[in-house]
Each structure stands twice: as C-alpha cells, then as structure tokens.
C-alpha cells in the first residue's frame, strides 16, 4: 500500500513542481508581501509572444543557468515585469536586451553581442582552425615526399655495393 502511495506521488511530482513554480513567481509589492505572478494583459498577442520569447533569452542574475522565464528569484520577477512594460512602451527586442545589458552586463543575455571582447571568441576559433589545418597539411606534405616511397629510391653505385655487403654479412651471421 505504501509503495502504491509513493508511486502515485512520483507520478504527481512534475505536476506539483510546476504548480509551486507557477505560484511562487512574481513581483514583490510593498503592500502585499506574497509573491504572486501578476496576470499580464498585453495590448496584442504579438507582444505577448515576444514577451515569452524574451523571457527565455535573458538570464537570471541570481541563479545559475536559469532564464528569467524559468526562475522565481525576486530579481527575475522584476526583470519580467520590466520586459512587459518596455514592450508596451514600444521598445524593440534588441532595445530591451540593450536595456538589460546596460544594467546587468553582457552576461544577462544568452546570445552575447558580437563586438568588443566577444569578437576574440570568433577570431580565436578561426585562427586555431587555420593553424590546425596548416599543421595537418605540413605533416601530410612531409610524409608524401618522394624520398619516403621505397619504389622511387635511387641508390648510387657506391651505396648499392655497401647494401650488398651488409646483406652478405647479415646472411653470414644468421647461418
């Protein structure tokens, strides 16, 4: 019977978790200390869609590896609230991300902007690739040179005589 209860609980747990996260998110207001996510009303469904998309491209600054759309930290609630307000004010997605970067730094977005110090990530990647290709080509070239192919080898008369002498000697030793 206990096992059955546990099984039912396990089955329910994802639903339970979803419930607590949903209930715990929101903005802390001065008159009401409980955290409740406000029911947001957008002037168009397009804004609402952009709101949800932006929530998943901005990082929660208090928690590791969570987007603000996935976090119930107070600072995330505040950021969601601000995103909604800026959207209604007619800001573009890029301007909203810029607004957040101005306050919380480059780390706030999951897609760092190209330029400044981030350019080095790209430069270093391409430079390293080019370097590796050069090294591989260099090695291949050295190994494919004519001297490595025994069929091509030309010995001088003197060298042939020495080779013959060495062979004779080794045959004599093994006998």
């Amino acid at each position: 019977m206990r096992w059955l209860l546990l099984f039912v609980l396990v089955l329910q747990s994802p639903w339970l978790m979803a419930q607590t996260i949903g209930e715990g998110t929101g903005l802390l207001t001065p008159d009401d200390q409980t955290l409740v996510e406000p029911l947001r009303q957008f002037s168009s469904s397009d804004l609402e869609e952009r709101f949800h998309r932006l929530n998943w491209t901005l990082r929660c600054m208090q928690c590791d590896n969570q987007a603000i759309g996935d976090s119930n930290a107070p600072v995330s609630a505040q950021m969601r609230d601000r995103v909604a307000r800026l959207l209604e004010d007619g800001y573009s997605d890029r301007e909203i991300v810029d607004f957040m970067i101005e306050r919380y730094g480059e780390g706030v977005t999951y897609r760092p902007r190209l330029g400044g110090h981030t350019i080095w990530i790209w430069v270093a990647g391409f430079a390293l690739t080019a370097f590796l290709v050069a090294v591989i080509l260099g090695i291949r070239k050295r190994h494919s040179g004519p001297s490595d192919d025994p069929g091509d080898t030309k010995l001088t008369a003197e060298e042939q005589a020495r080779l013959r002498a060495l062979r004779e000697r080794s045959r004599g030793e093994s006998a």
Partner: protein, 175 residues
C-alpha cells in the same frame, strides 16, 4: 618541428590555468563586475525611510565619498553584516548611505531601532526600481562611490571585517 603539434594542447592548458585563476580570485574578494563602475549613479528620486515627505535626490548624496549599502529587513545576511557597518560608521567614521531595498517602511524603521543606525540617511526603495537601475541582484550589496557620484567598486554579499581589512579599506581610502 614536431613539437608544433602540441602547441594547441599547451594553449588550452595555459587558458584553463588563467581562467581558473581569475575565477578563484573573483570568489575570494566578493567583488563583482558591474556595468556601473566608472559611471555616475542612476537618477535617484525616492522617499527617505524615516520621512515620506522628504524626497532624496542624487545631489543629497554627493559632496564626499560614501558607501551605498543595499539592505532589507527581510534579508538574513544583512543581520550578520549590520554590526560591521555600525562599527565602520562609529570607529572609522565611514559615510554610509542606506538603500532599503524591497522592504516595508515599518520593517525597515524597526530594524534600525533594534540594531542601530550606521547610515547618514536611508532611501526607501520598496519596489526596487532604483536598485534595478543600479543593477542590484540581491541584498546585501555595497557600492563604493566617490564625491562626484561615480561608482568605483561593487561588493556583493556580506561585507565582513576580513574583507574590509584585506582590500576594502584601501578602496575606501582611495576614493
């Protein structure tokens, strides 16, 4: 020229060492990057914690260097930090201004009566709007600001006596 192949491995090793060192440095100091460093404080227009008719603006803060300490009566870590601030204000006459962050007026006032008031004055930011513009992630945080209102240093988390003795006193004296 065979050693050339090992250059990338060596490069990665060096990079890992440097980044590892930088990471460990950051955690020791409790200092955090802020987009506000080197810039002037955002526009402030908030009520004083003890007097709602008194509106504090940027000019009330400037004139001599100060610490802007973000706190709230809901914040357990601030409890640990508060005696340190009291001591700094009493013994080293450090000018500290409080930013009461996402708190209730009663809660904030009660806190100062119970635990002592190290602040020249405290501004009341119940929704955390000014904190948001400043890039506050959570309490406690302490900003080192010079006489012109330019943010010079940001300390995240509890400001302990050890931090103060190790590095922060030097930062304060350099303002």
């Amino acid at each position: 020229m065979r050693w050339v192949v090992f250059v990338p491995f060596f490069g990665v090793l060096v990079a890992a060492t440097v980044f590892g060192y930088m990471l460990s440095q950051g955690e020791d100091q409790g200092s955090a990057p802020s987009t506000r460093i080197g810039k002037v404080l955002p526009t402030l227009s908030l009520q004083d914690l003890s007097d709602e008719d008194l509106i504090r603006v940027n000019e009330d803060l400037y004139g001599s260097p100060f610490l802007l300490n973000v706190w709230g009566s809901w914040c357990p870590s601030c409890r640990i930090e508060h005696p340190v601030l009291n001591k700094l204000a009493d013994e080293e006459s450090v000018r500290i201004i409080g930013l009461n962050y996402r708190d209730t007026r009663d809660g904030g006032q009660e806190w100062l009566v119970d635990r002592g008031d190290p602040y020249e004055f405290t501004v009341f930011d119940p929704i955390g709007e000014f904190g948001f513009d400043l890039g506050v992630v959570g309490a406690p945080e302490t900003y080192f600001i010079d006489a012109e209102g330019i943010v010079r240093h940001r300390h995240v988390g509890i400001l302990s006596e050890r931090h103060w003795d190790n590095t922060l006193r030097d930062v304060w004296e350099s303002l």
